[in-house]
């Protein structure tokens, strides 16, 4: 569905490319976790995949970005918005500021796409229900907790029904409760069948959710594989990414010389049924 072929991107005014020689393809229904240390290029990759870079923020893009085999270069962002949705880190900057209720805030994207009112209402209700935030519908978007505001931001993109949903560190500015709420929302989002690309430091959030992990370092892909094996890879630790708690626990038990129970071995290997 989304394909990046030999992509390199340089911000305006910068001499060095932030992304280099990227070849990434994301298929329908795939749930991809994007990890990497600070300044690895995760947010930039999100902007490029959503068509905002260079269309809105300038800079130089080489290579090609394809959606369903068609290049997106030159397409206006509002046209791409119906295909690719992007949720940013900060829930506060994603509020439009022009709506009085969460319902209107969630409906805004669909309204902007020029959809008829009945369709917008149906999509808005469905998004609120999917994320289980119907109870927030009549609340003022300015008076929500960080976690609730981020759920509203996710719902507002979901109401546009994009085929690829990109989330750029959606829990970076949230407290543990907000992170838990967003984590649950991501699982519900994954259950809808929408393809997801989630840039995130917190590997515990990605563990059990993603089917595939891509690790970036210095703007290049250094690891790309199935989530269960990738999250246990020493390669992640090598670039400063902390593996999920289950992997760390298993490693700690092994390092202490204790016997790892079979069930934990299975869990550590990604078999959650154990």
């Amino acid at each position: 569905m989304l394909e990046l072929r030999g992509v390199a991107y340089r911000y305006p005014g910068y001499a060095r490319s932030v992304l280099q020689d990227l070849d990434i393809a994301i298929d329908r229904h795939e749930i991809v976790g994007l990890v990497g240390p600070n300044e690895a290029g995760k947010s930039t990759l999100c902007l490029v995949a959503a068509g905002l870079a260079p269309a809105s923020i300038g800079g130089t893009l080489t290579g090609s970005v394809l959606m369903d085999g068609k290049p997106i270069a030159g397409l206006p962002v509002h046209e791409l918005a119906a295909w690719v949705g992007l949720v940013f880190q900060d829930p506060n900057t994603q509020r439009s500021g022009v709506t009085g209720t969460v319902f209107e805030e969630v409906a805004l994207g669909s309204v902007n796409l020029g959809r008829p009112v009945a369709e917008t209402v149906a999509r808005t209700r469905s998004s609120l229900a999917t994320l289980r935030i119907e109870h927030l519908a009549d609340r003022d978007p300015m008076r929500l907790s960080g976690g609730q505001a981020q759920l509203v931001a996710i719902a507002s993109i979901l109401a546009m029904e994009p085929r690829l949903f990109i989330l750029d560190e959606p829990t970076a500015q949230l407290d543990p409760e907000g992170t838990r709420l967003v984590g649950q929302a991501l699982r519900r989002l994954a259950a809808t069948g929408t393809a997801l690309l989630i840039a995130e430091h917190k590997t515990d959030l990605l563990d059990g959710l993603c089917t595939r992990i891509i690790a970036l370092d210095g703007g290049r892909v250094v690891l790309d594989g199935p989530a269960d094996t990738a999250l246990e890879s020493d390669g992640l630790t090598g670039i400063g990414i902390q593996p999920p708690a289950r992997v760390r626990l298993a490693r700690a038990i092994k390092a202490s010389g204790l016997r790892v129970p079979d069930e934990l071995e299975q869990v550590a290997a990604g078999d959650r049924s154990a």
Partner: protein
């Protein structure tokens, strides 16, 4: 006059909502109507354009008429009864006083002591307070109060969202509507950010308390970070709107609309005619003598 549902928008002011083949259920239509800002009185429920027209005509007419009788007539016959009907008479009075007082005091001081005149009331140092100066200051203050009350009446009875939605229904581009509404939201956001940055600076030893001079000195290091972070936020906000297709050209089907009526349209035209008549009378010098 009741607020109308999204599927009952007046065709004269806005096209009926497209429903894409499906129609809104009565429950959905009622819910969408409930999203409009609350309007507790008949005056609140007037179309924002009607209230804006009334405020504009009252303001301009007060200045064009000048003197005392014209502006006071506008105040007594138009603004005060409307404020009473809207249930905000006292609130509006306080608002108008707060807004016009600082300007009125400076105008009074400047006019009373600098306006040339034959009747000197008293002298302070090199300045003569003249009767002509007092008269001029009085006229200006009356106009200022009428303007403050007329605009205050509009502001206190009109939710900015209602105005923005109504203007968009009338063809104003969404970008302009957004700029107007977002500006109002930016101010509290900037104050919040300045408070956070100030706290961070104080944690690093910046003295922002004590004398006026110390406080002013404390403000200087805030200016750069507040402006820069505001610019960053503006960029993020604009990107977040873009991914929600905000830049898409063409019509949007808004979720709710505001009522308008042929009676209100007539009133707006009448206000315009009155304004033109006042301007014509002033230009041609045919203003009634009592004004």
């Amino acid at each position: 006059m009741a607020w109308r549902r999204a599927d009952q928008i007046d065709s004269a002011t806005a096209p009926p909502a497209r429903t894409g083949g499906a129609s809104l259920s009565p429950a959905d239509a009622t819910y969408l109507a409930s999203l409009a800002p609350p309007a507790p009185t008949t005056y609140h429920r007037l179309n924002p354009l009607t209230k804006a027209a009334a405020a504009t005509v009252a303001t301009l007419a007060a200045f064009i008429l000048g003197g005392y009788i014209g502006p006071l007539t506008i105040l007594v016959v138009g603004v005060l009864p409307a404020a009473f009907a809207a249930g905000i008479l006292l609130k509006l009075g306080r608002f108008a006083l707060l807004i016009s007082l600082p300007v009125a005091v400076s105008v009074a001081l400047v006019s009373v002591f600098t306006r040339a005149g034959e009747t000197v009331l008293f002298v302070i140092g090199p300045f003569d307070a003249t009767l002509e100066g007092v008269d001029f200051a009085g006229q200006i203050m009356v106009r200022l109060i009428v303007v403050a009350m007329a605009l205050g009446l509009f502001g206190l009875t009109t939710d900015p969202r209602a105005l923005v939605v109504d203007l968009e229904h009338r063809g104003m581009p969404p970008r302009v509507a957004f700029a107007a509404a977002a500006t109002l939201e930016t101010i509290p956001a900037m104050i919040d950010r300045a408070t956070t940055i100030q706290a961070a600076q104080r944690a690093r030893g910046l003295d922002t308390e004590g004398s006026l001079r110390a406080r002013l000195r404390g403000v200087m290091p805030l200016i750069g970070p507040v402006i820069l972070s505001s610019l960053t936020e503006v960029e993020e906000r604009s990107l977040a709107l873009e991914v929600r297709a905000f830049g898409r050209p063409g019509r949007r089907d808004l979720l709710w609309s505001l009522p308008d009526s042929s009676r209100q349209r007539f009133v707006r035209w009448l206000l315009l005619v009155v304004l033109v008549a006042v301007i014509a009378a002033r230009v041609t010098g045919s203003m009634p003598a009592f004004l």
